[in-house]
């Protein structure tokens, strides 16, 4: 790999090749930077560059009448976002939604992952994982609209609940939480499954030998060891929910989340949308810092 260097195009004479190989061998830093330059350029330009552009445009403003961008430096968008109560409500509602989705996914995913990783016959485990992942093959929109039909007034859910004197949640925030929890569930099952599968059998047997019942084993042995996997899954469910703006348009009724407020502003007031867009970025950074304390990055 070192000899290739990524930059030799014409078949080199043996002398040149040896010289380059020798030079690279003597300079490990050069070797490393050649190896990393392509991904680093991608990361910096495509990823951080776009974030920087977003952040910068948040300091511009628009002409109130023509909606043309006006490139004058102003912090008005940020002060708008920070001082307008409605943006706080929307931000809190969004974070609450993301936490709710994550919680539901943990509760639902854990038993499923436990079954697929530890209870099911090893021969069927792969099949079960495929089954867990199949919903990801279907289009997001198809699944979201399926839920729109399901939750519709006098729709299938209302019809099924009617004999019990109940009715479905209809369109609104609960519907958004349910839909998102459904959409992101595989992202939670997968890491927990991996975490549980890696759990040494000996530990569980030791726990049983020492007289612990299953709940005690779960609390004192399984949970602490699998917690980093749960945290890893929660990063997916949390961040995906935080940025979503389509589910809420389809089943959210009149609900406003950060995603669709950004979407509503992005065409005519890009600077304000950009300022709003930094809110989820900040929330996710905080969340990742919190998750880091569980020692997750190693398992992610």
């Amino acid at each position: 790999m070192a000899a290739g260097g990524g930059e030799l195009t014409a078949p080199p004479r043996p002398g040149v090749r040896r010289a380059v190989a020798g030079a690279l061998h003597r300079r490990p830093r050069l070797r490393l930077s050649l190896l990393l330059s392509a991904p680093l350029v991608w990361l910096v330009v495509a990823y951080l560059g776009s974030l920087a552009a977003l952040f910068l445009s948040a300091f511009w403003t628009t002409d109130p009448f023509t909606s043309d961008l006006v490139r004058t430096w102003t912090t008005a968008n940020f002060s708008d976002v920070l001082t307008t109560p409605v943006y706080w409500h929307v931000a809190l509602r969004t974070v609450g939604t993301a936490l709710g989705v994550t919680l539901i996914d943990v509760v639902v995913a854990f038993p499923i992952a436990f079954y697929t990783a530890r209870v099911a016959h090893p021969r069927y485990r792969h099949l079960l994982m495929v089954a867990v992942l199949t919903p990801l093959w279907a289009s997001y929109l198809a699944k979201a609209y399926a839920w729109r039909i399901l939750l519709s007034a006098d729709g299938p859910l209302d019809w099924a609940l009617k004999p019990f004197g109940l009715s479905g949640p209809g369109y609104g925030l609960p519907a958004v939480v349910v839909l998102l929890a459904y959409l992101w569930l595989p992202y939670m099952i997968l890491p927990i499954h991996v975490g549980l599968a890696q759990l040494p059998d000996g530990l569980l047997e030791a726990s049983a030998d020492l007289g612990a019942r299953s709940w005690r084993t779960f609390r004192s042995v399984v949970l602490p060891l699998v917690l980093p996997s749960v945290a890893a899954g929660s990063v997916f469910t949390f961040s995906l929910s935080l940025g979503d703006y389509i589910a809420v348009q389809i089943v959210g009724g009149k609900t406003e989340l950060i995603g669709n407020v950004v979407y509503a502003n992005i065409t005519l007031n890009l600077p304000l949308a950009a300022a709003l867009g930094t809110v989820p970025v900040a929330v996710i950074v905080l969340y990742l810092l919190a998750v880091r304390r569980t020692g997750t990055p190693g398992t992610l």
Binding site: L40, V44, V45, L48, G49, A52, A53, L56, S57, T62, D63, P64, F65, T66, S67, D68, L69, R71, D80, T84, V86, Y87, H89, V90, S152, A153, D154, G155, G170, Y171, G252, G253, K254, E256, V261, A264, N265, T267, L268, N269
Partner: protein, 400 residues
């Protein structure tokens, strides 16, 4: 450490690139302190040339029909056959969408309503139109020519298309008695709580203002697009109160059709074309013009200033206001045609009378969408009005 330097340097570079790359909007005009528009200097096309073979349009739903929605409704294919211009259409849901789509530079012409047209003129996105190159323009109702929403200082910026009112639609099997007033959607304790819908655009604030204009004369609203702070706040409060009863807002017309079909919405604002589409899908709905009058639109086909297909766009503008086609569009969408000769070509002989085409007294009851600006458009000089940017912010508050 070195990585952070790289990041900082790249960010600075990106910033520089952005600020220099996007410096092209210096030519745009705006609203002067006298409240007049100062569009950038442009001249209209002097003569038509070779047609380009294609035209890219932004339109309201139902304006550019090629038979895919209803096989009997097709005025695109005959146009393509006659002119050789292939039509590509993007349906926009709101005036704000139209403005932003026009800024993308991908389109040649747009069917702009009055709350978009002046913004497009001011920003330099819309070009003046040489009406002499549009033969059918001579038959357009005089009351639509060179109006404040489609011209500046006697220069035409587009070809009038047609005009109509936003209506109140309801499910005849679920809403009784039949509503006759906008009060049905603004009423505090509505029996239809959670099943009411409203148009999802800041311009909907004018609907609330119109209702207050008729029901609370003390506020002194004379024009729903000229609201001083007190009148504006009252309208916003009314919408916040209405929000409690809203099930969902609509801007995608197909979403409204499906919401009425499923019964998720049973009462709310609509366009005639939506009511027609819902009825054709066997949904029992009816659309009425309430006693307070209504907001409405008067649409204009406008030309993009840097259009790639100007000759095909001119051909389209002439086609869409030709008597036969203007009659077809008007009947399909449910609006009054702009061309007075269109009245002879409608399949219903009473159509123009039903839609009060050319009847300016009737359209005194309809307040055409207009972009609110700080200079009150009702002529008041002693106060300033709330400009559209504030309407946009308030709309977020209403829904939040």
């Amino acid at each position: 450490m070195r990585l952070t330097h790289t990041i900082a340097a790249t960010a600075a570079l990106a910033a520089l690139a952005l600020t220099t790359a996007c410096g092209g909007s210096s030519g745009s005009g705006s609203v002067g302190s006298d409240g007049k528009l100062h569009p950038p200097k442009m001249t209209a096309l002097k003569a038509l040339g070779q047609r380009e073979g294609a035209v890219d349009l932004i339109a309201w739903a139902g304006y550019v029909e090629d038979g895919s929605d209803d096989p009997k409704v097709d005025w695109v294919h005959p146009f393509e056959k006659q002119t050789g211009c292939k039509v590509n259409v993007k349906v926009a849901a709101t005036s704000d969408d139209m403005v932003s789509l026009m800024k993308s530079g991908q389109y040649d012409a747009v069917s702009a309503s009055g709350d978009a047209s002046l913004r497009l003129i001011a920003s330099g996105d819309a070009a003046p139109v040489n009406t002499g190159l549009v033969p059918n323009y001579k038959d357009v109702f005089d009351g639509l020519k060179l109006q404040p929403w489609n011209s500046v200082d006697g220069v035409a910026y587009g070809i009038p298309h047609g005009y109509g009112a936003n209506l109140l639609m309801y499910r005849t099997d679920k809403v009784s008695p039949a509503p006759t007033s906008w009060g049905a959607v603004f009423q505090k304790d509505s029996p239809y709580k959670g099943r009411i819908t409203a148009y999802d655009s800041p311009i909907y604030l004018a609907d609330a203002a119109l209702y207050l204009m008729k029901t609370q004369p003390a506020l002194g609203i004379k024009n729903p697009y000229a609201l001083d702070q007190k009148q504006f706040d009252a309208s916003v409060d009314l919408l916040k109160q209405q929000n409690a009863n809203i099930g969902e807002y609509w801007s995608d017309y197909l979403k409204e059709v499906s919401a009425f079909k499923s019964g998720d919405s049973v009462l709310g604002t609509t366009w005639q074309v939506i009511a027609n589409t819902a009825q054709s899908e066997k949904t029992p709905v009816k659309a009425v013009l309430p006693t307070e009058g209504a907001t409405g639109w008067s649409d204009t086909w406008m030309l993009y200033s840097k259009a790639r297909h100007p000759n095909c766009a001119y051909a389209w503008m002439n086609w869409i206001v030709s008597p036969q086609v203007n009659a077809q569009v008007a009947e399909y969408f449910g609006e009054a045609p702009a061309n007075k000769l269109a009245c002879d070509h409608t399949s219903s002989k009473t159509f123009c009378a039903d839609y009060h085409a050319g009847d300016s007294a009737y359209y005194k009851r309809v307040w055409f969408w207009t972009t609110p600006i700080a200079q009150c458009v009702d002529g008041r000089k002693d106060t300033t009005c709330v400009p559209y940017a504030k309407w946009v912010q308030a709309w977020t508050t209403v829904k939040g």
